[in-house]
Amino acid sequence: MHYHTPASFEEAVRIAASAGGVTRFLAGGTDVLVQLRAGAVTPDDLIDLKHIPGVHDIAATPQGGWRIGVAVSGAELGEHAALKRDWPGVVEAMELVGSTQVQGRATLTGNLCNGSPAADSVPALVAAGARVAVTGPQGSREMAVEQVPTGPGKTALGPGDLITAITLPPRGAGGGDAYQRFIPRTEMDIAVVGCAVNLTLEGDVITQARVALGAVAPTVMLVPEAAEAIISTTLDSDALEALVKVARSAARPISDKRGTAEFRTDIAGVLARRVAELAYARAKGRAK
């Protein structure tokens, strides 16, 4: 295995493009090293992105959103008060990934690129309307986060493509987001179901919403019907009941060692309701 420390994304792309065998990009390494250890993936070329200027930065965008470097750890996200104030759901989702030790290394970009349908941060990013900047042999482009994962362990990134930053839109007034997951223990498990809700209020009425579910389909999915169920409502009991129903019918889970399909479907509804209530309370300024 060859270890590279490029000083720019362009150089990283060049190394990747010229590599013949298996290539992996390394930021936090919390997935790459586990695969390496298990013998599941032993890259021929490992390209460490942490020496590229700017990858450790969390920066405000001119539009009022946030640009998050690819090597920013979960712990650093959690310590960024202004980001956490704007997007508590995104930050809390990332903070659920792994242990405190894993938080010291794991990144949003890595969580996204691992392609897991159960990745905690991804539903929150999708609900937030986050976008990624991609650089590759064909040049640079932007895409919505929900376009990145294409199946378990698979992404829309081509050979040599790499994400250079994740951008969160401006929060705006009357907004709130939240993420929760269900796991058997209190910590340290992979989500059996995850749900993120991002909404905007005018007065008590929801004017915009995005709802995303994790671990109930081959990829994290945006559920527009779930958003429609609560838009133009005050999240009253009828709206919540409709949301629960829609979330459950949108879920297409499998049964595996972490939960049965029936259980996941059930919990998708329970979480959608709980998370929507929390996001709503945050938008009203009633919850942190």
């Binding site: 295995m1 060859h2 270890y3 390394l26 936090g28 390494g29 919390t30 090293l33 586990v34 390496l36 250890r37 298990a38 032993t42 490992l46 460490d48 942490k50 750890s73 712990a75 792994g98 242990s99 405190t100 030790q101 894993v102 010291g104 290394r105 209190t186 910590e187 340290m188």
Partner: protein, 160 residues
């Protein structure tokens, strides 16, 4: 497969070692530097027995490559007591509270707890338990570990 020369600071000392790029920081500490206090319980970041501080940040040494240590500062259990051997309050409280049985997870718990108290000097029991969720102990049921951390925190606040 060529090895890479790595220079880092470990427990305040400048060290050098040759690392195969596939070796973890844990391998480097244990096999190249003789610092066997950090333990491997899982190799997948699930048990916390290899907890170390990397530039002051709590990480699992099994999830960091040895080559990534280049130019960085690492603190391990071996650097926790004072240069004259004076124990850190956490170390002392772990012994006093019988917070260890087999002791294999103890270095990881101590390093992780030190990182907690640096960030949160007055943690609640719940904060301690969640912070230490990635440190598995199979012997104690955690009871005496939590008590030792809370007691050490109280003593350190009093001493400060």
């Amino acid at each position: 497969m060529s090895k890479i020369h790595v220079t880092a600071t470990v427990n305040g000392d400048s060290v050098e070692f040759l690392a195969d790029p596939r070796e973890t920081l844990l391998d480097a500490l244990r096999d190249h530097l003789g610092l066997i206090g950090s333990k491997e319980g899982c190799g997948t970041g699930d048990c916390g027995a290899c907890s170390v501080l990397l530039d002051g940040r709590l990480v699992s040494a099994c999830l960091v490559l040895g080559v990534e240590a280049e130019g960085h500062e690492i603190e391990t259990i071996e650097g926790m007591a004072g240069p004259d051997g004076t124990l850190h309050p956490l170390q002392r409280k772990f012994i006093e509270h019988a917070a260890l049985q087999c002791g294999f997870c103890t270095p990881g718990f101590l390093v992780a707890s030190k990182a907690l108290l640096a960030k949160t000097p007055d943690p609640t029991e719940e904060e301690v338990r969640y912070w230490l969720a990635g440190n598995l102990c199979r012997c104690t049921g955690y009871d005496k570990i939590i008590r030792a951390v809370m007691d050490a925190a109280a003593e350190m606040r009093g001493a400060a």
